[in-house]
Symmetry: C3
Subunit: 349 residues, 3 copies
């Protein structure tokens, strides 16, 4: 597509060379020559000035200087989305059916329109709902089940008896139903506590690449409806994650913690075991919750504090060396005053 | 099973409707209606009051109020374990033999009663001990070996020449024997240092899902007997982990660190490279060890300190804004005093 | 090989029993009986005194005491490398060709000398360059491509349209091209934002085991030439990592962050989204960058500070309980002085 054709597609007015071929689409800062980007807000003026894009979608009334062609449109973000959608290749199509290399045990229950791709293994009693795609190399254990309209990318493992609801998206390498980490001391050695529960995952859940979710010691580890988990997250045994909670990459939740609905948990953060976190809690990245937290809390830091308190402490922390020097100075001046006062007292006596 | 049948199974006295069908077993806090839970200690009275369980196993002399049926027993925890064991489905049975889709090279040595499941790949020289199960899609590299009575869950990778002892449990997606992360600078570029050692894992080890253990630069990375690793842990090249040490999820040990016996390493914690950690060391979650640590230490925090010291510092940290204000106030009062003292001195002269 | 033969191989002078059989090679501290180690510098005298090695390579003029045989050589490190190289088994050979269990779609483009190992899946449009090895169980999505002379270890996933350059090394379980973590709020629920971009990886890149690299929302996530990523790292959508940057295990980079050339990012550290990190930046382990950072910065800690500043703060942090006590003491002494001064003022009036 040329820039002239791009302008036509988005009902825009081109200022620049319409014969330039568009190579791709990108953000202002990430764009390479050939890319078309967009300027959503005047606050990105600096990125605009430095962009390497060949053309930028801007508002009709935009009046800055551009290092490249511009295409004036009513709404740059909407126009950009239209452009993106017009240029991406069609999504991968998964043909229904069982690939001849898949190993599907007797007694597996498959819905209509299911795709079981190459080298999958489905053990006895596994169930797959209508139109769900089980990607290449996935493993569904004995009695494991996935609902309808789901998409399991390649190399997902769902161990025995674990359940996933409808419309799930599970990314590559995710492991669902591994044993919880539980031992009893036996002198210096550790005796394994059987982990005989399951993982029970609701509807509309998305699980990131290489995530691990442990099965319960008994009963179930629960991932509520609408939960979104980013990559490399650890969910320990018997955890409950409430509906519509979202967690960023590498977060971890320790055993038997209960997390409320619609929380937002930052990347690399941690929630210790056996505590209860309310609804709508926000936890900053690289932070820890180590005790029960009421609904609506916004928390940051190690042994996370309310974020305003944390920021006040952080502000003072940076001044600690200065505070230390001040105290030393005060001590000196105070000693001098005390000496004087002592003398005067003496003089008075 | 009805509650009446449950009571009979655990030699308990039921107070409540014996005809209710038990749906499952769960902890007090996690229980849903239909579940049977147990009250181990009076300190969980609040969880008892709020439980959604349909019945709770309690001590015979327990005297609190219950929101559901109770079953009085001698030891609620023991009774609960008996109930759990009576209700779980039998564990998955792995039939000995080589699945027809497995690719087993010539010269592979298999013990008696071994199960090599679907889509496994065993390279030349790999060895598997008696009765060990190699789950679906596992990869055993050239000359890799696993001892007897082991269980490798699906999608485990054991690279060339690495060794695992007897009675191992390795969870899905674990990677054992990946190259250590070692480079030499070559101007701005990095030149790879060959990683030609192995990983040597002892007996009775359990390795969590998606764990990564790097092979040594030369010689071996060593995981001692009885070590337990939770999910998503990183063990770098040439590390030695002493017998019966346990690490929680997402912990990391950097290159050539030596960790003693029977340590307990918290989740998301880190141990830097080239240091020695003694025996029986406990490191809190989200904490770091950055220098040698003597046996028996209990440590917390960034650049981990003895945990009592850490707690004292944490206590003061929360009062930092207050301390800062106090110092400002002192400075003001001190200046006033000094001014007065100066005047008086002047008056005296 | 006996110690006498070892000495001959490295042109060394043996002091000790030449008939001892060498079991392996190892560092001084990790060595077991039978191993040969080396003493690179006098500063390891203590490790030398305690080594369990059966022989140690030392400089010809070394004069310390040894608990075992020594072999005197011109350069112990060079001699050791020669010994290592003489003793390791030859590297695994990958025979060119397509394994009969691999599933290679029509229209896949394979270079000369390519090895496609057991149970691989290559979707339509995938490309593999000359002499590249695609290890057992790898998945290459629709239109995905890998350059020449690459090595993909088993169980790597490269999703549709993503690209890897020449001479790549990708370790087991790495996932390249998973969806970015992007949602729009829809009441309490989350609506998925399509992630239609790709991952574009340069030449001479090494990617660790179980790493996850997300595809861009649109455009591309970029990993520059010569980048080295350790295990279990998370790279979010639309990130750009500059050439020759190296990151240690479990580091994470959030969405749309731009990282410069030749940075060194410590293990478990994090870089928040939408910021720009300059060239040659060094970030300590377990640290966070939360705002733009100029080239050449050396940073440590939570909300990472210049490392000298961080160390000054850390030094004072350890003295916080003492500082707190000092302030309380000052306040008392000051109050006493103020009281006296008040009296005296009164006396003057």
């Amino acid at each position: 597509m040329t820039l002239a054709e791009v302008a036509k597609l988005v009902n825009g007015a081109l200022e620049g060379d319409g014969s330039i071929e568009m190579a791709g689409v990108a953000g202002l800062r990430e764009a390479d020559p050939g890319d078309v980007a967009f300027l959503a807000s005047p606050k990105y003026a600096e990125a605009m000035a430095r962009t390497k894009a060949s053309a930028v979608l801007v508002r009709r009334d935009w009046s800055g200087a551009a290092p490249c062609a511009v295409i004036r449109v009513d709404n740059p973000e909407v126009a950009f989305t239209r452009l993106v959608m017009a240029t991406i290749p069609p999504p991968v199509q998964h043909r229904p059916g069982i690939h001849p290399t898949a190993v599907v045990a007797e007694g597996v229950v498959l819905g209509s329109g299911v795709a079981i791709e190459a080298h999958c293994v489905l053990e006895p009693g596994a169930k797959v709902g209508d139109r769900t795609v089980v990607g290449a190399g996935c493993y569904l254990g004995h009695g494991a089940s996935v609902g309808k309209d789901g998409l399991l990318y390649p190399h997902v493992t769902l161990r025995e008896r674990c359940r996933i609801g409808d419309r799930a998206i599970v990314h590559c390498g995710a492991v669902i139903g591994s044993d919880g980490f539980g031992y009893e001391p036996d002198g210096e050695r550790w005796r394994k506590i059987p982990q005989v529960g399951i993982v029970d995952i609701g509807d509309d859940v998305e699980i990131g690449a290489n995530v691990t979710i442990d099965r319960a010691r008994f009963g179930k580890t629960v991932i509520g409806n609408g939960v979104k988990l980013d990559n490399l997250i650890q969910i320990a045994h018997n955890v409950k994650v409430g509906a519509n909670t979202a967690m960023a990459a590498q977060a971890a939740v320790a055993g038997s913690a209960i997390i409320g609905r619609h929380c937002q948990i930052g990347g690399q953060s941690a929630i210790v075991g056996h505590i209860t976190v309310g609804d709508n809690v926000m936890l900053a990245g690289s932070s820890n919750i180590i005790r029960d937290v009421p609904s609506g809390s916004i928390l940051m830091g190690y042994a996370a504090l309310p974020h305003m308190e944390f920021k006040r402490i952080q502000a003072v922390t940076g001044r600690l060396p200065e505070l230390s020097r001040k105290i030393a100075d005060i001590l000196k001046r105070l000693a001098a005053l005390e000496k004087d006062a002592g003398k005067q007292k003496g003089g008075e006596g």
